[in-house]
Symmetry: C2
Subunit: 270 residues, 2 copies
């Protein structure tokens, strides 16, 4: 159903591959775009990553991830913001569509305070990113990650946070795993028009095998990926569609076979 020309391999789907291996995999399988993770970028070095993706003609749909702003101590929060500036440098060097924000959880911090720290962190990051032409993509994460990963949990909340900036500075990343359940998903995706910086797909397995590493391949779960894709396209988004699957069984398998399966499922179930 979805055109492979829209596919982007989010590197965590084949977590055991280095940047060089993932780039090579995309080339061999005819996947035109890739999303790189920062720990993998560190391993390879940013210059090598720029050269590898450019030489392969791969589009970089996103750099994952900035964010993780909340911390009890002021000094620690400053350090986290500093790290986000480095992430913006990397996104700029790679020409990525956006720098994805996983904003951080509230464990050890009052929930409202954590949300304020996120707003402050984004405010500190935007001017720096703007100068470098880097757009900030706020990704609402499923509410089950509010304690440990992200206090940004709905599209509505992400749009509110983005509203303080222009549509070229801050937008949203819509991942079907995180948003599929939302009773307001139809109206909220429509409201996101002009601010959708990325679209991610996977599936929700039932029962959920693991809170973090239990995402499924499209077609194996309950998510209506084609329906959500239609809403996102009605809202004007026509960019890359990242397949981002955190799944221990996929990580234990041969990444080359996983990528082949990802493509098959993408064409059938997205």
């Amino acid at each position: 159903m979805a055109d492979k020309a829209r596919l982007s391999l989010n590197q965590m789907t084949t977590a055991n591959w280095s940047v060089a291996q993932a780039v090579d995999g995309c080339v061999r399988h005819g996947v035109p775009a890739i999303a790189l993770w920062r720990h993998k970028i560190q391993d390879a070095g940013i210059d090598a990553c720029v050269r590898l993706t450019r030489d392969a003609g791969l589009h970089v749909s996103s750099v994952c991830r900035g964010g993780m702003f909340p911390a009890p101590a002021e000094q620690e929060r400053r350090k986290k913001i500093e790290d986000n500036l480095r992430a913006a440098d990397e996104a700029a060097a790679l020409g990525a569509d956006s720098l994805v924000m996983v904003v951080g959880g509230c464990a050890g911090i009052d929930l409202d305070d954590a949300r304020k720290m996120v707003a402050d962190g984004v405010a500190a990051l935007v001017p720096y990113a703007r100068e470098r032409g880097v757009r900030i993509g706020l990704e609402p994460l499923h509410p089950m990650y509010a304690a440990d990963r992200s206090v940004l949990n709905t599209i509505g909340q992400a749009l509110e946070m983005a509203s303080y900036y222009t549509a070229n500075e801050v937008g949203v990343i819509l991942d079907t795993f995180h948003i599929w359940w939302d009773p307001r998903v139809t109206e909220l995706i429509a409201q996101a028009a002009g601010r959708i910086y990325g679209f991610h797909v996977s599936d929700w397995l039932n029962p959920l095998p693991d809170v973090l590493l239990g995402r499924g391949l499209m077609g194996d779960g309950v998510i209506d990926n084609p329906g959500l894709r239609a809403l996102v396209e009605q809202a004007g988004y026509s960019g890359p569609i990242e397949v981002e699957i955190f799944n221990q069984a996929l990580w234990d398998a041969d990444p080359d076979a996983v990528l082949a399966q990802v493509i098959e499922r993408f064409e059938k179930f997205v």
Copy 2:
């Protein structure tokens, strides 16, 4: 912080106790109210349950649970509605504050269709319940249960569904485990004024040990139970506060010791 006079033992917290044992436990520990589960009611027989709670002078804060409406086949859906009528009979016999709805998940059914089936199921149940003086308490469950347990996932959605009925017919059950993460929780609890039929507490452990059986005792996790209690009380609710903890470790422990600990945590962390 909370007064024990407000405490209700939700029977699933001491899942290995029969109704007779749970009633006896409440009496010995000075807990004035109890919430009964239907499979335990079946085991004991409804007449015995009525006699046991009445003789013990225990208030029945709720009967858990009706709902589970969605099903692919019409005949199956009718059977489920029929079962809800029996649940209303039990709630009436026990003089429960409400019959709690865990409305059912969407696995095997389109999400929008499942939500319509829930609305239809509630519509079929309300007239019968009204005649018997039974109030229907819609409990929004955490979004991580949308596939397997409940497509009703936010307070806003529950209030919308309740709005078709009077405030004496259909209301909401607010459980901190399910709602704590919601960025709109403050405004939504205020909007629920006059329709709050029950308030449940437990805690969200970080990391979450298990999707279903990983709830924690109050004080062991990230939830601001006193803050949410204050919001619920500002909205006018002054009824029983149920402690409902699905936790394998607690179930494996001595129920009597668990109840003592529940009381201690209730007075300290709610």
